[in-house]
Subunit: 168 residues, 2 copies
DNA sequence: CAAGATTGACAAATCAATCTTG
DNA sequence: CAAGATTGATTTGTCAATCTTG
């Protein structure tokens, strides 16, 4: 029911909803398919070939990109679009597998540092090529450089609106 | 680690991975942010204002769009990008809340029909305006009609590649 | 006491069997 | 026996407390 005027209940005083035009609807549904299927497609390749979830990969990738392979839990949560709670559970699992370890920040005991182990670094290195190839195959190679750039821009515009979230 | 050449382990004979250029990487990361945050933004509005999950909404919307408010489980699963198992669990919950009911196809007992109840139709009708307004605010109004159309096309191109899935 | 982090209870999705019908 | 569907066990994510440190 993003769709039509609908014959269903309407409690609003004046029904002033701006329904989607057929063209808008069609574009929206395409976007819905994208946001539902792309994460799944990325996830399953990663899981199948490397036994890593997409968020696990992301977390390790962010860590590996720092000098000391170290980040605060809070920073890591932010940069991976993850809640602190989710991240904590996830780091528990990675820690159990020896891919990451924790350490209390010696400068300020309120912070916990997540650190990529050597084992974690190899796991990431082993996973990367097939993952990148998959991203290239599914997304990068699907569009001209120009359209890819624009897609990225459009995605950013939408994300900025989500961040602006006046909550309704 | 979609990022760089990396100093990590590499077991491939000749390391012939085509890493992403900075521009490609930037676009890709924007897409990642989109597919992670947009579903969340849609879901939370829906949940907050109507107590419906995004998949629940989708399922009911698909049903309401048919003449008899009826669809086969298998068809519904396909059209909502959902596994049959996931859908079955979900319909259980909706059935428990009286929004949908099940019925065995009288023509062919192998099929189960999911049917939107009157109560379900009103719930959907009540949820729709705010949901559509949210989609408009976050996505439709973020882009020019021309760019929206292109975004939809690009999304479709990517989805088609996912469907083509040569599985690696 | 506020920010960072963790924890356990709960909800939802996935996976692997299993069941049923034509 | 293949396709449709369901089920229960497991995993993963969310939510609401709780704990700790400066």
């Amino acid at each position: 029911m993003t769709r039509s005027r609908s014959s269903a209940a309407r409690s609003v005083p004046s029904d002033d909803v701006q329904w989607l035009t057929p063209s808008e609807l069609s574009s929206w549904l395409s976007v819905v398919r994208l946001v539902q299927r792309l994460p799944w497609a990325i996830e399953s390749q990663l899981q199948r070939d490397s036994g890593l979830g997409i968020t696990e990969y992301q977390v390790m990738a962010m860590l590996s990109d720092t000098d000391s392979a170290t980040m605060r839990m809070s920073g890591l949560a932010e940069v991976t679009n993850s809640s602190l709670s989710r991240l904590s559970h996830l780091i528990n699992r990675l820690e159990g597998r020896g891919l990451v370890r924790r350490e209390i920040d010696s400068q300020d005991g309120r912070f916990t540092l997540a650190i990529l182990t050597e084992e974690g670094r190899s796991a990431l290195g082993a996973a990367a090529p097939a993952h990148v190839a998959n991203v290239r195959r599914l997304v990068i190679d699907a569009l001209s450089p120009e359209r890819l750039r624009r897609l990225g821009q459009d995605a950013e515009r939408i994300v900025r609106r989500i961040d602006r979230e006046p909550l309704r």
